[in-house]
């Protein structure tokens, strides 16, 4: 179907019902906003779970502050160790599968891709709608898992057998001898993630097809904004990695329901005097399958943010992105290398140490494209004319914090050092610097940046900056000390580390981080209020409040169904900022006058 006709003609005779327009919508913008809202709701849930984790770790003995009275007196007015395991497991599960991936790929991917490439919608609008609605069974199952017998899953977000997979025969009601939470709760976890995976796979097919096939005339691959490149490569990652996770989840589900033994070893296992029968499987198999997906998953969780940050920084630096092609190659490099490093999560797992050597070399090298990107962002702000909008501040924070997160990764990539820091808070520090301090700052930046395009109104800049400043300060206070206690050897996932003398010195740091985390949580209220208030009372936004070059800013705010009244003709790349030969400091991609000026200096 030709894309050069106005979409309005095709739909002029047919006005959609409220249900079809806003609920079961096939419009990528509405679907993107649906992902945004559900992602933010789960961010709240995941954040509350994080605060519960911090309360336990900061105050491991005695009545737990603030919430003690809600726990049974028979528990000592504090949470039990199993409860704690459930809380941190669900915190991570929700943040990864229900917040960051849906926000980056589902919300921003959906909203930006067709607009930025000049398309009317995604290649498969019905598939797109389904990819959102397949999340709802996942939402229902994961939330109700808190209320099933035994509680929600508590084997970490990593669900390693045999803690997660050991189950009595089906006739005994799916109880687990390994943990009460590994019965129904674990089954719910597996089912929920299966739905999330299917949703993501549908989305990834849509994104790849749309980007390859539906670009507007003149929009060559190397005139696409970095956001689109990042979403494209992320979609490739998702499509290739998710099938493996799907298989792993199914295998564990079968082990738990019909007593297959994919992960039960030939010797079986013993809980006290109770023995299982022998299996024919390998526990390590789960780890390989799981991490074959979950390592690319962490790049799925950062590459879109990197792309968005590149566009935001260039826009507000009023300067071309430094090194556009190297930036694209770096994203491809990170993604490609990302497929051959999964074993670095398994260095100490008992797998053959020779494999460890191989994975180590690839893992260390992955720091290289990340470093290249960081230097190119620096190059972008060097000699710039920086506009300190809230979006820009969040994007710059991404860069500053990603440096720390990326550098800390080198320690754990080094296998001898990993012998010591594996499963300590050093790892937890790294995780949160790349996920909270990088991806989430990227998400905040994207929200402040694209909010006007989504909703036709601007978020409040003053409160945005206050939110940013408090978040930046308190997140550093919460997560940076984790490096320190990690180096002291503080293990992760510990209910109470005061049992250990070698950790005596660092116990006060735990309290400091807990208080910082609480303040960090409170600061997010500012964002919530700003977001919802601005939806209804924010200053009206024009089409291009940021004077940005990319195509979405030529459409109205918000764009109508079909996006563009006339298909844009793209005449130049997305980063024509600061051209000295023209009056304006920006030159949109589809601006009518062809650029008659000399090509920029190299």
């Amino acid at each position: 179907m030709s894309v050069s006709h106005s979409h309005a003609e095709a739909h002029a005779h047919h006005e959609l019902s409220f249900l079809r327009k806003y609920i079961f919508s096939e419009d990528h913008k509405i679907i993107g906003i649906q992902f945004l809202f559900s992602g933010l709701i789960f961010f709240l849930i995941g954040g509350i779970l994080a605060l519960l984790v911090r309360l336990q770790v900061g105050y491991p003995t005695g009545t737990i502050p603030l919430i003690g009275r809600w726990f049974p007196i028979s528990w000592g007015e504090r949470m039990s160790p199993d409860f704690y395991a459930m809380i941190f497991s669900m915190h991570a599960t929700i943040m990864i599968f229900f917040v960051i991936i849906p926000l980056l790929t589902g919300a921003f991917g959906n909203f930006t891709i067709p607009l930025m490439i000049g398309a009317q919608d995604m290649a498969f609008p019905k598939l797109n709608m389904m990819s959102y609605w397949f999340m709802w069974p996942a939402f229902a199952v994961i939330l109700s898992s808190f209320f099933v017998e035994g509680g929600a899953a508590a084997s970490g977000w990593t669900s390693y057998p045999l803690l997660a997979s050991a189950t009595m025969p089906a006739g005994d009601g799916f109880q687990s001898p390994a943990s009460p939470h590994s019965g129904h709760g674990q089954i719910c976890w597996l089912v929920a993630l299966l739905f999330v995976g299917i949703s993501s796979m549908m989305g990834s097919i849509n994104y790849m097809t749309t980007i390859i096939n539906l670009r507007a005339p003149g929009m060559t691959m190397f005139r696409m904004p970095m956001t689109v490149w990042a979403m494209f490569i992320t979609a490739i990652l998702q499509s290739m990695a998710l099938p493996v996770l799907t298989v792993a989840l199914m295998l564990q589900l079968l082990d738990k329901t019909i007593n297959t033994t994919f992960f039960l070893p030939p010797g079986g296992m013993a809980f006290g005097n109770w023995h299982t029968g022998p299996g024919g499987g390998q526990t390590l198999l789960w780890q390989h399958l799981f991490w074959f997906y979950s390592h690319p998953a962490v790049y799925i969780m950062i590459l879109p943010a990197m792309g968005m940050v590149s566009d935001i920084i260039s826009t507000f630096a009023r300067k071309p992105l430094f090194g556009y092609k190297p930036m694209v190659l770096a994203i491809a490099g990170i993604a490609g290398l990302g497929f051959i490093v999964w074993g670095h999560h398994m260095f100490q797992s008992g797998m053959d140490p020779r494999l460890g050597t191989g994975f180590m070399i690839a893992t260390i090298m992955i720091a290289l494209p990340s470093a290249v990107k960081t230097f190119n962002w620096l190059g972008t702000v060097w000699g710039a004319n920086i506009q300190y909008t809230t979006a820009m501040l969040n994007a710059l924070a991404f860069v500053a914090m990603f440096v720390i997160g990326g550098l800390s990764g080198i320690f754990m990539a080094a296998t001898p050092v990993d012998v010591y820091i594996h499963d300590t808070y050093f790892i937890v520090a790294h995780i949160h610097y790349v996920l909270f301090m990088s991806s989430i700052f990227g998400i905040f930046g994207g929200i402040y940046y694209w909010f006007p395009k989504m909703f036709g109104r601007l978020m409040n800049e003053k409160w945005g900056k206050i939110h940013f400043a408090l978040t930046f300060l308190f997140s550093n206070c919460t997560f940076f000390p984790m490096h320190i206690i990690g180096i002291a050897g503080h293990p992760r996932r510990y209910y109470d580390s005061t049992l250990y003398r070698f950790l005596d010195n660092v116990q006060p740091i735990n309290q400091f981080m807990t208080i910082s985390a609480l303040l960090l949580g409170l600061a997010q209220i500012i964002f919530l209020v700003n977001f919802f208030w601005s939806l209804f009372r924010g200053a009206k936004a024009g089409a291009n409040p940021w004077h940005s070059n990319t195509l979405e800013w030529t459409a109205p705010s918000p764009p109508p169904h079909g996006n563009f009244v006339q298909t844009p003709i793209v005449r130049r790349g997305p980063y024509e900022y600061g051209n000295p030969e023209i009056e304006e400091d920006y030159e949109p991609q589809a601006a009518p006058q062809p650029s008659a000026v000399p090509t920029p200096a190299h």
Binding site: A367, V372, L378, A400
Partner: protein
């Protein structure tokens, strides 16, 4: 906040982070004591990486903060119209690449030394450690070096004794542990030895260490082990989530000063264990005349 104030804000937070690491060793927030022969390999690599990462942290963050300060926008101004710089791109690809490659290759030896079974030294002491929810069971053979250690690792012997949460050895001994688990994944973590190994169901995994310092003296009179110094309470922790009791799988590492001291303790422990066990051999008929 005024425009340039943002760079100062970033700078202050980043500086505070840097300083917190700088003061950590001075206030006791640092690596624990290192009493392992391969420990220095681990720590040296850590310091080399710390050196490189600190350098690049300071370089990139200082450049960022400086750029945020110097290039804060002025009305009517324009950013420099530059798309890239080929030579710069090559420089900051090749130099970090070379550094990373060096770090990767230089460390292979240390990893092999710690983990490759073929490179583990001949043991002076062979032990078994079996993890379970939620303690460690240490298994000691009749003598430190049983014949055919690998077979002993799999086949219980009638002379073995089992002690919970106590890992005894002596200074300078090459200790080889065969690690198992009877239920879920666990991980034996000995911070002062810079040693960690996950225990896999269905597998017996060898690990080794050689302690360079001692912390235990066996008191023959009381039959107990005494810590030579309060600061040398070396602990064992579990480092793989294994259920609700994961945090309380605490054990203790007892490094005796000499083999003799260890053997005295072992003899005492064996007597105590066997006195609790039923008779294994038929009582010899007293042949007094």
């Amino acid at each position: 906040m005024q425009h340039k104030g943002w760079s100062i804000f970033f700078g202050v937070v980043l500086l505070a982070s840097f300083l917190s690491i700088a003061i950590s060793p001075l206030v006791g927030w640092w690596l624990p004591a290192n009493v392992s022969t391969f420990g220095p390999d681990v720590d040296k690599l850590y310091y080399v990486i710390l050196g490189f990462t600190t350098f690049f942290f300071v370089l990139t963050e200082a450049l960022l903060v400086w750029a945020m300060y110097k290039f804060a926008g002025r009305p009517g101004a324009k950013g420099v119209y530059v798309e890239g710089h080929h030579r710069l791109e090559m420089l900051w690809t090749v130099v970090p690449g070379a550094i990373l490659l060096y770090i990767a290759i230089a460390q292979i030896g240390a990893w092999e030394k710690i983990k490759y079974p073929k490179q583990m030294p001949e043991p002076d002491l062979v032990m078994g450690v079996t993890a379970r929810q939620w303690d460690w069971t240490m298994r000691y053979a009749d003598k430190p070096q049983p014949e055919n250690a690998r077979t002993w690792a799999e086949v219980p012997s009638i002379d073995d004794i089992y002690l919970p949460d106590e890992l005894h050895c002596w200074k300078g001994a090459n200790v080889r542990i065969f690690l198992k688990t009877q239920d879920v994944l666990h991980s034996l973590f000995l911070p002062q030895l810079r040693l960690k190994q996950d225990a896999l169901p269905g597998k017996t995994i060898p690990m080794w260490f050689n302690a360079t310092d001692f912390n235990t003296r066996f008191n023959e009179r009381t039959g107990t082990c005494e810590l030579t110094d309060k600061s040398k309470e070396w602990e064992i922790a579990c480092a793989e989530l294994c259920g609700g009791g994961h945090y309380r799988m605490r054990g203790l590492l007892y490094v005796h000063e000499t083999k003799e001291d260890y053997l005295k303790w072992l003899e005492h422990a064996q007597k105590a264990a066997r006195s609790r066990q039923p008779e294994k051999k038929p009582t010899p008929v007293a042949a007094k005349d």
